[in-house]
Each structure stands twice: as structure tokens, then as C-alpha cells.
């Protein structure tokens, strides 16, 4: 009798993480129903095609890595090295580059409102939704051969484990151990492919909790805020390196975003 009870208890304990995980997945499925993500993609498409700036041209000549105006698969191949800028860039960094070089907009104007809110999303958020959607079904394959791409990966990896700030946090402080959660939010161990893959396959994403569409630059920014650090500069080498590290860790995963998250 005691053996049966012990067996049952052991089985229950073993099943607990699996049950918790299935509840997270169930929640994710439920929130994805009725998500307005595609509506953000549509506005993004309009913005991509809208002539703007002193040059009065659209972004349709913007080269996201596959050639001017080529969108299919471009997001899945980012971050990567760009010869014309001589640096590694992620999607948002590259969009900013095109806004200033192709459209002739000033950096001040183009960076005035990078992150939006529920009442008014930002141009960057709409564009990210549209461009990312054009990589659906493609495997994540960020740049890996150019020396600067390798440097970017190594910097991102070092940053992930770098403890600093008023609360001594690194990314790994929260994202370093399996089956942990912060309040009721699961914490994927982003330094492992198993956990990084489903995450990077679904950013950028619509966030149900604040009715807003959020991008990777925002996610990195907001993590550092909660890590009690100062603010990372948008599109800086550090932020791109973090994106490079996470995307490389998830490489090979089929992109299925933009996603819907809590």
C-alpha cells in the first residue's frame, strides 16, 4: 500500500513540470486565437510602400540583405553583416538605416518615436510586423561567416552571462535555469537551442497584456530596465549582439511569427 502511494507521489512530482508546461502552451494557443497580428502587418505594408522623407521615396528600394526590395526570407537571415554600413545589423537597425539613407530622413526624426503604445503603435513596430511576416516558413539563418558576425555572436554570449547593475543581474539570472518562472511567466533558458527556438521563431509579437505590438529591440530594452541597468541605445552594437546570440542559438528553427504573447 505504502509502495503504491509513494509511486503515485513520485509520478505526480515528475508530471508536475510537464503539466505546468502544457498549461503555458494551452494559454499561448488560447491567446493566439483572434490575435490582431495580421492587421499590424497590413499597416506595415502600407508604411513600407509610402513615400516619405526629403527624398520622397518609399522603403521599397531598401536592401534588407537579399537585395533592394527583396522581402521574402530577409528577416530569417538577420542579424547579418552589411558592407555598406560595415557593421552587423538586425531588422530594426537596418530599417533605421534605410529611413535615413534611402528616404533621407534625419536620425532625430526617424528615432523620435521608436516604441509606441496601445493607442498609437510606432512606425518601426508596424514595419517589423510586415517584414517579419514575409519570412514565415523559412528557417532562421542569421549571418555566421563574416568576422564581425562571429564577433557579434561572442559579444552577445558574453553579455548574456554578464552580471552588472544595481541588482547584479545578468540575463542568465532569470533565463539560466530550467523549469523556473517569474511570477506566473515561464522563463525559457535562452542560452539553449531547445528553449531559444520557439521564442525566436515568434518575435516580434503582439502582446496581449498591454495590447501592443512589440519588437526585439523593445524586448531587450525592457529587460535591461527591469535588470536595474541604464538604457541600451536603440540599434547599438550591444543590442544587435544580443539579438545575434539569441537568433544564432535558435538557428534552424522554422520562423512562424509575428507571434502573440501574454
Amino acid at each position: 500500500m505504502m509502495r503504491a502511494i509513494t509511486c503515485g507521489a513520485v509520478l505526480a512530482l515528475a508530471a508536475a513540470p510537464a503539466l505546468a508546461q502544457s498549461q503555458f502552451e494551452k494559454y499561448q494557443r488560447m491567446t493566439a486565437e483572434g490575435s490582431p497580428v495580421e492587421l499590424f502587418e497590413l499597416v506595415g505594408e502600407d508604411l513600407w510602400k509610402k513615400p516619405q522623407g526629403p527624398n520622397n521615396v518609399s522603403l521599397e528600394k531598401c536592401d534588407l540583405g537579399k537585395g533592394p526590395g527583396v522581402l521574402r526570407g530577409a528577416y530569417a537571415a538577420l542579424p547579418r553583416y552589411f558592407k555598406d554600413a560595415d557593421r552587423v545589423m538586425d531588422l530594426e537597425t537596418r530599417l533605421l538605416h534605410c529611413m535615413t539613407t534611402v528616404q533621407g530622413r534625419s536620425p532625430e526624426e526617424a528615432t523620435k518615436r521608436l516604441f509606441g503604445n496601445a493607442d498609437k503603435p510606432s512606425e518601426m513596430e508596424y514595419l517589423s510586423a510586415y517584414v517579419a511576416a514575409q519570412s514565415q516558413g523559412m528557417k532562421l539563418a542569421p549571418g555566421s561567416t563574416h568576422p564581425k558576425e562571429k564577433e557579434s555572436y561572442e559579444l552577445g554570449k558574453a553579455l548574456f552571462f554578464h552580471r552588472a547593475g544595481a541588482w547584479d543581474f545578468s540575463c542568465a539570472s532569470c533565463h539560466g535555469e530550467e523549469d523556473k518562472r517569474i511570477r506566473m511567466s515561464e522563463l525559457p533558458v535562452l542560452s539553449t537551442p531547445k528553449a531559444a527556438r520557439p521564442v525566436m521563431a515568434t518575435w516580434p509579437a503582439y502582446r496581449v497584456s498591454n495590447s501592443q505590438f512589440k519588437t526585439m529591440q523593445w524586448r531587450i530594452n525592457d529587460c535591461y530596465r527591469q535588470m536595474r541597468m541604464p538604457e541600451p541605445v536603440f540599434g547599438s552594437e550591444a543590442t544587435v549582439a544580443m539579438n545575434m546570440y539569441l537568433t544564432t542559438t535558435a538557428k534552424g528553427e522554422t520562423y512562424r511569427g509575428p507571434g502573440t504573447k501574454r
Binding site: G34, S35, P36, E38, L39, L42, A118, D119, K120, S211
Partner: protein, 92 residues
């Protein structure tokens, strides 16, 4: 807004940007969409009323009988403060 033909019908999804704040949230100054009108090629086909029970930035999904590529769908709304807004698209 997206309007697509699907098996003889038109599926429409529209996001209406609006705070949709309840009387409780605003301590007595609610702000929400009250009336929604859907027109196809200028002709009203749906007249709806919603309340403060609907949350921020409502997404309205509905299906219209029939429809053809290029049909103009217009969704307009009126809130309790008398403000109106609308969005339109062509059936793809």
C-alpha cells in the same frame, strides 16, 4: 482591416483603435465605442452596439454573405463622447 473571399463569402477582420475605458477605470468618466456600422459599397449591412464591457482596441471579425473582389468595405464607429472614426478596404 482585412477582407478576403472565402468559399462564396467575405471574411472581414478589423481592429478599432480605442481605449474602451469603463466607468470604474475612469472613476465616472467612461470612454468607449457605442455604435459600429459596416457598409459594403456604401450600403449599411451591419449596425451594432457595444458597451464598456469590451476591452481596449477591439478586434471585430465577421462574415458577409457573397461579395466580390474589389468590393469596398467600410467600418465606422461612434463613441459615447460623440467622436467618430472609420477605416476602409477593398475585398482581396
Amino acid at each position: 482591416m482585412r477582407a478576403t473571399l472565402a468559399g462564396g463569402n467575405t471574411d472581414v477582420r478589423v481592429l478599432m483603435t480605442h481605449p474602451m475605458e469603463t466607468a470604474q477605470q475612469t472613476k465616472g468618466a467612461p470612454y468607449f465605442i457605442q455604435n459600429i456600422t459596416v457598409k459594403v459599397n456604401g450600403k449599411p449591412v451591419i449596425e451594432g452596439e457595444i458597451s464598456q464591457a469590451i476591452s481596449r482596441n477591439p478586434v471585430f471579425s465577421f462574415r458577409l454573405k457573397g461579395g466580390a473582389k474589389g468590393d469596398k468595405i467600410e467600418v465606422s464607429w461612434l463613441d459615447n463622447k460623440g467622436e467618430t472614426n472609420k477605416t476602409e478596404t477593398a475585398v482581396a
